[in-house]
């Protein structure tokens, strides 16, 4: 029995042969609806903040610098490529591209920053972009609002090797406990 099993195993291995791809020289085709890196179209975005409200990783940050200027920052280092932002966006300003080879040394390389000029509504004082229809009310803002760019300071820094200086510095980190 042992021998027949071994013969069967030999056949099982021989039939498919080598299946490993010679990546990166040989690349398998990327399927059309892959959820790759989200790409933002500043022409279409009306700055409604829907994407930032619904991003499970909270990596789209919104900040109103002043009444007329809203900054949107997409922090790709924390993105989970779930595609929720693209689903939510009322203006289809976000597309999930098919790029997935996005490992890099510089966080900035996968960060997108948009500065949007907003108009103030004469009646309610809220912001929206002038020439587009207002979609604020179409989006149900239920979630948590993350509009503090400084929160990024809470993302801890790490070093390749043990760094006593960095450890020392971590003593000064704001810990929620000593806020009170």
């Amino acid at each position: 029995m042992w021998i027949t099993s071994k013969i069967k195993q030999l056949l099982m291995v021989m039939k498919p042969g080598v299946v490993t791809l010679d990546y990166p020289n040989e690349r398998p085709p990327v399927p059309a609806n892959l959820r790759g890196q989200p790409v933002f179209d500043h022409q279409k975005c009306i700055g409604c903040g829907g994407c930032s409200d619904h991003c499970p990783a909270r990596c789209i940050l919104v900040r109103d610098v002043c009444q007329e200027l809203r900054v949107m920052l997409y922090d790709g280092s924390r993105c989970t490529y779930c595609g929720r932002c693209a689903d939510i966006c009322p203006e289809k300003a976000i597309t999930m591209s098919n790029s997935f080879e996005i490992a890099c040394d510089q966080k900035e390389d996968i960060t997108t920053r948009m500065e949007l000029f907003m108009m103030t509504c004469q009646r309610c004082g809220r912001c929206y972009e002038m020439e587009k229809t207002n979609a604020i009310d179409r989006i149900n803002l239920k979630g948590f609002r993350y509009d503090n760019l400084e929160q990024r300071a809470l993302v801890r820094k790490t070093s390749e090797t043990f760094d006593p200086a960095l450890l020392k510095e971590s003593d000064n980190y704001q810990r929620p406990s000593d806020k009170e």
Partner: protein
């Protein structure tokens, strides 16, 4: 007499005034509120009426009435009912009676609640730390509402977990802090006498990420499924589906039938993936890398299929509260059928090639044995239980999604060992393929998503069970304010099965440790370093993974040698 009335009568007969109320919230869930004096006895009465213990959930009720509450949950598998027994204790005297002496598998649930909420259990046989880090400060209970989700206490030096005393005459072999092959952290201290394992103690939860706390404080209902999916890299859809079902059941939301079919299909695709992955890992653990390579080659096709279907190889991101995100088009349906056909053929070839291989039998038959009765006592679940003659499967016993319309077999074997587990999982893969075909066959048209129109009322409780490839996952949700759950408890299958591992290891050979561990398909990883401490001299040396592999392989070669000589 209905099941609820029957239970109520039994409880009142024994506990009288301690029973506060017995109510049925939906078709299949019965809630029992008892005073704390009768908590353990109520549990005894419930289990005596044939219920199987699932898990326990603690939650913080301090703001409302100054208590910490605890829920024990049970399943009545014959009649598709869940029984939840609740009691609470005031926060200044947070003690309840432990049920672990009656139900050994409640041990971890109770220790977890003690760690995270500060509720103590009188009479617990092993009231040690389970979840929290060794240097976590006393008196801070992270799941209480007053503790912020990003609280980071100062670390402390010189604190270590006190492992159990080794039985006399044995030596300790620590395995960990990473598992020797699954690449997840865990720490076992294995007590060996020569090569024979005489017991073990476990220290884990090193990857406790506080997901429950995060979801209870930061995100909203529709973002939790994405986080739930990341609880486990393999049964992602299981957790997302379970969470969504729990919320839907609390909110009374009915989702479109088509969405239920798609969910069922995703769960079965995931099962094929997981079983093939496990088959490969099991082969690797016993040093049979041909199985590993071939099973994973076959598995690769399902990952590519999922990439076309959902946009990603794993973490499908398909499930939301209220339905699913992507529809199944006729093109993709055909694609699915082709791929599962191919997998069916190729898996048959693999199975034929290994089913009679005596060298595999030698390493897996009669290894990791526990009896059927022990499996029931420890509430084993999933393929591990089915390989030990326990006939449970949540898909059949507590149908969810579209499983009520599916026809499939539940393989039950009574070999009680690792080999039977392997066979069960291979057979289940074939069953999964059958289910996928039925899904595509019978899938009704219509919507795939229904919007949540109203606010979900707070303070509703819901429990749901989903059969993951490695056993059932239990999710319990207490709805809350601000569009997010107030308490969300996930009991992954490993949580239960791992507790019985010491029993499986007893009197086995140390070289079999990896495969016995691996046979429950634990959801943590096992890697490189094994330190051997000689108790007598206190000297410690390290075995690398390579050496452990060599030890493991030597057993295989020894077996083959014997075989050839025969």
């Amino acid at each position: 007499m209905s099941i609820r009335k029957e239970l109520e009568a039994k409880l009142i007969a024994r506990l009288r005034d301690d029973v506060v109320c017995v109510e049925k919230t939906d078709e299949r869930t019965i809630y029992i509120d008892v005073k704390r004096a009768g908590f353990r006895e109520a549990s005894q009465i419930i289990t005596a009426s044939g219920a199987r213990y699932l898990c326990s959930i603690g939650y913080d009720n301090i703001e409302r009435d100054g208590t910490l509450a605890m829920v024990h949950t049970y399943a009545l598998d014959d009649s598709n009912r869940f029984v939840c027994c609740r009691a609470s204790a005031p926060v200044d005297d947070p003690v309840l009676e432990s049920i672990t002496p009656d139900l050994p598998s409640a041990g971890w649930s109770e220790r977890e609640v003690t760690d995270l909420l500060g509720l103590r259990f009188a009479g617990h046989p092993k009231p040690k730390k389970l979840v929290l880090a060794d240097d976590w400060p006393e008196g801070i209970y992270p799941l209480r509402k007053e503790v912020p989700h990003d609280f980071v206490p100062q670390g402390a030096e010189d604190v270590a977990y006190q492992l159990d005393e080794a039985p006399p005459g044995t030596k300790i072999v620590p395995v960990g802090p990473f598992h020797p092959s699954l690449h997840e952290p865990e720490h076992f201290a294995v007590y060996v006498d020569g090569e024979t394992i005489k017991g073990c103690d476990y220290r884990g939860f090193m990857t406790h990420r506080g997901i429950e706390k995060l979801c209870q404080t930061q995100v909203s209902y529709n973002e939790v499924p994405f986080i739930a999916e990341r609880i486990c890299g393999i049964c992602g859809s299981v957790h997302a589906t379970a969470f969504s079902q729990a919320v839907e059941s609390a909110a009374g939301l009915i989702i479109p039938r088509r969405a239920e079919f798609i969910r069922t299909m995703m769960l079965e695709i995931e099962r094929i993936h997981s079983n093939l992955l496990w088959l490969g890992v099991a082969g690797h653990l016993i040093g049979f890398d041909t199985v590993f390579m071939q099973a994973w080659r076959v598995r690769e096709q399902i990952m590519w299929l999922c990439e076309r279907l959902t946009g990603n190889r794993k973490t499908y991101g398909m499930i939301l509260v209220g339905g699913v995100r992507r529809d199944i088009t006729p093109d993709i349906a055909e694609d699915i059928l082709n791929v599962v056909k191919k997998i069916e053929d190729e898996l048959t070839v693999i199975y034929r090639a290994i089913e009679k291989d005596t060298s595999i039998h030698k390493r897996t038959k009669g290894v990791g044995t526990i009896t059927r009765q022990q499996a029931i006592d420890w509430n084993l679940i999933g393929p591990v239980a089915r390989a030990r003659g326990v006939d449970i499967d949540a898909r059949r016993d507590h149908p969810y999604a579209a499983y009520d319309e599916m026809k499939f077999e539940v393989p039950v074997l009574d070999g009680c060992d690792v080999w039977s587990t392997l066979v069960v999982r291979v057979v289940e893969t074939f069953e999964a393929i059958k289910i996928i075909r039925q899904c595509l066959d019978k899938m009704p048209g219509g919507e795939i998503f229904v919007e949540m129109k109203d606010k979900i009322p707070a303070q509703r409780h819901a429990i749901t069970v989903v059969e993951a490839p490695r056993g059932e996952s239990v999710h319990y949700v207490v709805t809350g304010e601000d569009n997010r759950p107030e308490r969300w408890r996930v009991r992954a299958p490993t949580f239960t099965n791992l507790q019985a591992v010491p029993l499986m290891l007893l009197d086995e050979q140390f070289g079999d440790f990896p495969i016995i561990m691996g046979s429950i398909d634990p959801c943590f990883s096992c890697t490189d370093r094994v330190a051997v401490v000689d108790l007598q001299t206190g000297k410690s040396s390290s075995i690398s993974k390579a050496e452990l592999d060599v030890m493991s392989r030597k057993r295989l070669q020894g077996n083959q040698l014997q075989q050839v000589q025969k």
